[in-house]
């Protein structure tokens, strides 16, 4: 046997094997793509059979056989074109044109078989048709390859290569037709091209499972490698997106989505890109079937009676779906869905893979749920701890004036009972008044702190002259030890809640005095800048240590340089100040220098509190949006 003969025999054997494999596949799952592929190799097999039969003399050569042989070859190319349409969409007019050309070529082949010779023009036209069809097929497969990934991509590459080899064969045929003298050179080349096409088509159409798995492995490995870090992503949405991405690349399909199962509402939450759909579980939908049967499902065609049919088609252009339930132990978490626009992308073997990915997703989603639960528990504990801190801080401070109020009133009562004619104990009554006021201030402070939390500190707005208010508060707190001054170029008017602004100034000035135990000036400055009203309150007191600076405005915060027993307070004053400023749409901050350690005067220590308020504060609630000086309704701002 010559090498040429060997190569040809080998090619034929490969094609016959391919035919058997795809024929069995077409019988098992009679989908259009599978049938087309079976017909392609059926034509090839028939052509081979015919060649064998005629060369061994089983059948006599004749015009019928000649015509048939030619038609079968043309038929192969025609079927390939149809297969292009199965893997990607070919325009309808092109398909019709191909149908017509095929019919004409077959008719011509038979005609000229019976009425030889076959004219050159016909051979040329036939070749043009075949080459054009093959060229288009190769280009179409190449384009689809660039759009696919994973197994699908490699299959398409193989099919493209196989088709390119066929193209080469026909080029060589054309060469022999026009230059018959070159047939000695051409013949072995076309034999090799034939062998190549057989091998490529085997890989592409009759992909052995081993090869499939080998191609899936790197994607799968990359996916599993990333899986461990997924539960730490900021939210469930990003985890789901990552899982969907991993699934689609691993399976070589363009789209994947995870439908989460809502146990309370008993619906599957499907998403298609930006669109959402809540689906009660039903067997009519692939996702529903996967959820109800807890088995992976392969649906080669999404049918119109599927409730997701129109949306899946519209958003994904999906025709074919793989679904697997995502279940962690007894808990149903959802369904993993992988969509493809063409049926031949998936095969039965992909079911095992999609279930594997779904199981992985289950573990990851459950980890995430546990992390979230742990975070919630921690947050609850934090809230409890804050409440306890609050209660213990508040309790002690409230109990102090209460002690005097209770004991002193009881004492006054006893004295009055024993000596009803005794003169009024003025000092005793003044003590009661003093303590009652202390208690009142503390209670109001606590209530304000609570309102700060709820964002309800600011009430009705009206024009407020900051300069006048500052001068008023200053004059009430000024003393020889703590002289208070206000510096401003002009009156500064803004639209604010006058009571709260007063409270703000009182708080800041009282703080300045309180934390300058050795005396010192308290200086206020006001000015207008860029549409904002600015205020600073400066003192030369004990200052604020660096580590406390970011925390001074927090609830219950007392400075680390503040001896609890020397400077009484619940740590709410600045917290409330911040609430007032921020709910007016402004900003408050502090610059401070801590004085040197010791109880003496701190010439270089002190704090400067800055407040910047917009000229017009935003309204407190939309329902009661007040009207400003120009009669315009305030817009509500988002905090």
């Amino acid at each position: 046997m010559t090498l040429d003969q060997f190569v040809q025999d080998l090619s034929w054997i490969i094609y016959l094997i391919i035919f058997v494999v795809v024929a069995i596949h077409a019988v098992r799952r009679p989908l259009r793509a599978n049938i087309d592929i079976a017909l392609l190799f059926g034509a090839a097999a028939a052509s081979i059979a015919l060649s064998v039969a005629t060369s061994t003399g089983l059948i006599a050569r004749g015009p019928l056989i000649t015509g048939l042989s030619g038609s079968l070859l043309v038929g192969m190319v025609y079927m390939l074109f149809r297969i292009v349409d199965d893997f990607s969409d070919v325009r309808p007019w092109l398909m019709r044109a191909s149908d017509v050309a095929f019919a004409l070529t077959v008719a011509g082949a038979f005609y000229f078989a019976f009425f030889p010779p076959q004219p050159l023009w016909f051979s040329t036209l036939a070749l043009v048709y075949l080459l054009a069809a093959l060229f288009y097929s190769v280009a179409a497969f190449a384009r689809e390859t660039s759009r696919s990934s994973g197994v699908t991509r490699r299959r398409l590459l193989a099919v493209m290569a196989g088709s390119a080899s066929l193209f080469a064969i026909f080029i060589l045929v054309a060469v022999t037709t026009f230059f018959p003298t070159l047939s000695n050179v051409v013949s072995p080349l076309s034999g090799l091209a034939g062998l190549a096409s057989g091998i490529f088509y085997y890989i592409g159409f009759a992909t052995p499972t081993v090869l499939r798995r080998a191609w899936q492995e790197p994607e799968l490995r990359a996916f599993l490698g990333r899986a461990a870090s997924l539960p730490r992503l900021p939210d469930t949405e990003s985890i789901v997106k990552e899982l969907e991405q991993g699934a689609s690349t691993s399976l070589g399909a363009p789209n994947a989505s995870i439908a989460l199962w809502d146990e309370q509402a008993q619906v599957l939450k499907l998403n298609f890109g930006d669109e959402h759909m809540d689906l009660p579980p039903t067997n009519k939908a692939v996702s529903g079937r996967a959820l109800l049967t807890q088995q992976p499902v392969f649906a080669p065609h999404i049918t119109p009676d599927n409730p997701t049919y129109s949306i899946a088609k519209r958003v994904y252009g999906a025709k074919s779906v793989l679904a697997a339930p995502i279940t962690a132990g007894p808990r149903r978490l959802g369904v993993l869905l992988v969509y493809a626009p063409h049926t031949p992308v998936f095969a039965e073997e992909d079911l095992a893979l999609v279930q594997l990915l779904a199981d992985q997703a289950a573990v990851i989603l459950e980890s995430r749920a546990l992390i979230d639960e742990a975070a919630r528990v921690q947050a609850r504990e934090e809230v409890t701890r804050l409440k306890e801190d609050f209660l213990s801080a508040a309790a002690h401070d409230l109990k102090t004036p209460l002690t005097t109020l209770v004991a002193q009133t009881e004492l006054l009562e006893r004295r009055a009972l024993r000596s009803p004619d005794a003169p009024t104990d003025l000092a005793g009554l003044q003590k009661l008044k003093r303590e009652a006021y202390r208690l009142k201030a503390l209670v109001l402070e606590l209530l304000d702190a609570a309102r700060t939390e709820q964002g309800k500190l600011v009430g009705e707005l009206e024009p407020v002259d900051l300069l006048a208010t500052a001068q008023d508060v200053c004059s009430r707190h000024t003393s020889e030890r703590h002289p208070c001054t206000v510096e401003a170029q002009e009156p500064i008017i803004g639209t604010y809640d006058p009571n709260r602004i007063l409270q703000l100034l009182e708080n800041l000035i009282e703080n300045a005095v309180k934390y300058s135990p050795d005396g010192g000036p308290v200086d206020l400055k006001l000015w207008r800048e860029d549409g904002f009203n600015h205020l600073t309150v400066s003192d030369t007191g004990i200052g604020i240590p660096r580590e406390d600076l970011p925390h001074v405005f927090e609830r219950f915060h007392r400075g680390t340089n503040v001896d609890d027993r020397r400077f009484a307070g619940m740590g709410l004053g600045l917290f409330i100040c911040r609430g007032i400023v921020e709910q007016h749409g402004g900003r408050i901050w502090v610059e401070s220098r801590q004085g040197p350690a010791g109880n003496g005067t701190h010439p270089h220590g002190g704090s400067v509190f800055h407040v910047a308020l917009p000229a017009v504060a935003p309204a407190a609630t939309p329902a009661e949006a007040p009207v400003d000086a120009e009669g315009e309704r305030q817009e509500q701002s988002v905090h």
Binding site: T400, A407, Q408, L411, R414, E435, R565
Partner: protein
């Protein structure tokens, strides 16, 4: 007896209550003043606030013990741990702020009687 308490109004009220009942009362605003007062005259009972500046209740009690001064102590505090603190420093009793006048007097009599 000696009252050691940093809040001036509570100090004066408790003093008034006890003087009204006929007791002789010395006053101190913190632990240091308290020790000075003990140095001048040994009291029958010490009513002790725990949270004070300069020298707090615990330090005060510890120093008394070191010096071997054995005077009954009545812990007076607003904290919830009044009973525990009293046990910690070996006090004879405790009273929680705010208190009712009769309860204060009863606690004082108890502490004095338990010698």
């Amino acid at each position: 007896m000696l009252i050691v308490e940093d809040d001036p109004d509570i100090l004066s009220t408790v003093t008034d209550i006890l003087e009204f009942e006929g007791y002789q009362v010395e006053r101190a605003s913190n632990g240091v003043e308290g020790l000075a007062a003990i140095g001048r005259a040994r009291p029958e009972l010490i009513i002790l606030d725990m949270r004070m500046p300069v020298l707090d209740g615990w330090e005060f009690a510890r120093i008394l013990k070191e010096r071997g001064v054995e005077v009954p102590i009545l812990v007076m505090t607003a904290a919830r741990d009044a009973r525990r603190w009293a046990e910690e420093i070996g006090a004879q009793g405790y009273i929680s702020k705010p208190f009712h006048l009769p309860d204060l007097i009863a606690a004082v009599e108890n502490a004095l009687g338990s010698d």
